[in-house]
Symmetry: C2
Subunit: 341 residues, 2 copies
């Protein structure tokens, strides 16, 4: 298992071919996922280990990716502690009672893994049996992104309520972040104990912040999560729109940093120094013709230049309308790519 | 007039105090604007020079900003040529028949300024009389942002239809951009002929692109617009989320580049070289308490460090819920700020 390309790349060891997986690879771009979703709801799949394993395995079987990522939603641990969240198709999470005050924060109770998420441990164990040598990634939403959902109530363009709380009621903000950090640590520790091979923290929305605000309101909390998991399995820290945050994020303790398409891969790698890097094709490129996909994927690979520590991925999750043929060909292309050194 | 702080800063000449104005300063953050909007529709205000002048002057009177920006919508020139666009409150422009094909593109006819936008010339002339020594900025939407509205039909998070056209039907994309460029040039030339003192191109959404895609699909078109206006009045090129695009944008011909809060002002200035810079406080900061606004504004000013060529502004438009007192105090603060050299 430790010989897998993906795990070797996380540790910046030499590999026989660039490892590749895709964020949201288990999802609506796959016809077999859509078929299953006609019969089962999103959370129903999360709660039933057999279904969770099936959905997690689908992209491994069809695409031949180098890692599986366990199917879940970033809101899963919050839902598990009783926070009212509705996962609405084509909208995302909708929070029943958005957080406005310290009293609201104090109603978020700690995660009790044995009681709240027994299905997680079962799903990991089942997946580990079925995956063979393919490593399994467990993920969690980063506290900024979780907090933003809890405060805004749903997705947002400008995160104004979130920022207004950060600036105007920092004690409420930090109390919320602390609860989310505790919950996330318990959640990720459960996944590690059950046997996942790597962890990824998804900070999809952190790129709305200035570097100052990241350092002041987010970074100490991210560092506490990563610090609590250090020494277990490789840790990937992913955000979008982080070109100017990467020099800060490189101090947060992760082994691998994600980068999106807004920054050329080699520029991003230079900013983060001696770490592995994951990325960074624009998932929208996969809506174009294969010839365009190929030239853009080749550009990413040329910028990585065969240096140990590159995990090929997208800069964000696969869009549901992505032609599955482009995904299949892209995996083949990445694996066959020969670096001219 | 050429002695105004704002115009001197555009030319990187020394100023007695840092000039300041705000994107969307004429808008819903001002009670006098909201009062007027109870009686008149958005386009009604655009079409009636007296109303347009009144709304444009409101922030100059109340806030004491160093420049006025003529009230309009980025869709104004398209609406003037008969493209069906509805400006929906709290949503933005909604396009009746989104563009999908070359035939759709060919239905966009050229702008005939005398027939289509006589009210623009009248509004500029009226404003020039009333403004005295305060300079007047005329603006236009940049072709990428206009094209994105026309293709998506409305605002978008991921611009997937827009990118799919760029990648899959580049001949349709470039034909659309060419028409938008012609239209924008005619629109801006009309404003210059009428007497505006500076121009600003708003590329609010360009930051969703990779540097490669900006260079391939957008930059030649932006350059043609700016080139056509070179030698007239100072030209400001503004986009959000452009930290990694600034090194390209600095070659597009503008005198001043905008930057948003995601990149520290001094880092942005270093990327763009010998140009003036406009920005870059996060408008969300203005939803916080004054003490926080003050520290963040001081940080921007310290990073500018009194070098000639800084125009203080936000990194994007004022949010409607901004307390007007914060705007009033911010203008005073910027004007009174003493640089320690």
């Amino acid at each position: 298992m430790t010989q897998s390309r993906f795990l070797r790349a996380c540790r910046r060891e030499a590999v026989d071919a660039t490892p590749v997986w895709f964020m949201r690879q288990a999802g609506r771009a796959l016809p077999e996922y859509r078929a299953l979703r006609e019969r089962y709801g999103f959370m129903e799949i999360c709660y039933q280990p057999e279904l969770c394993a099936e959905v997690t395995l689908q992209p491994v079987r069809r695409l031949g990716v180098d890692a599986a990522i366990m199917f879940a939603d970033i809101m899963t641990p919050l839902i598990a502690t009783g926070v009212g969240v509705d996962l609405v198709d084509n909208v995302g999470p909708v929070v029943a009672a958005p957080i406005q005050s310290l009293a609201d924060v104090e109603r978020i109770r700690p995660l009790d893994p044995a009681a709240d998420i027994p299905y997680i441990t079962k799903s990991v164990q089942l997946l580990k049996q079925e995956l063979g040598t393919t490593p399994l990634i467990g993920f969690a939403g980063a506290p900024f992104t979780l907090a933003a959902y809890l405060i805004e109530g749903k997705g947002s363009r400008n995160f104004l309520k979130t920022k207004a709380m950060m600036y105007g009621a920092p004690e409420v903000w930090h109390a919320l972040m602390q609860r989310l950090v505790d919950l996330t640590i318990a959640y990720l520790q459960t996944k590690v104990a059950a046997g996942v091979d790597a962890l990824q923290l998804f900070d999809s929305w952190v790129g709305c912040l200035s570097p100052h605000d990241y350092a002041t309101f987010v970074q100490p909390h991210t560092q506490r999560i990563i610090g609590a998991l250090t020494g277990t399995v490789p840790f990937i820290h992913f955000g979008t729109n982080t070109a100017t945050l990467l020099p800060l994020m490189q101090n947060d303790g992760a082994d691998v940093l994600g980068a999106d398409w807004r920054i050329p891969l080699d520029d991003a790698w230079q900013l983060i120094g001696a770490k592995a890097i994951q990325g960074n094709l624009d998932p929208a490129v996969l809506l174009g013709p294969w010839e365009y996909v190929r030239t853009q994927a080749a550009d990413v690979l040329r910028r990585a230049n065969g240096r140990p520590g590159h995990i090929f991925n997208l800069g964000h999750g696969i869009h549901p309308q992505t032609p599955v043929e482009n995904l299949e060909r892209l995996v083949e292309f990445v694996h066959a790519f020969e670096h001219k050194r």
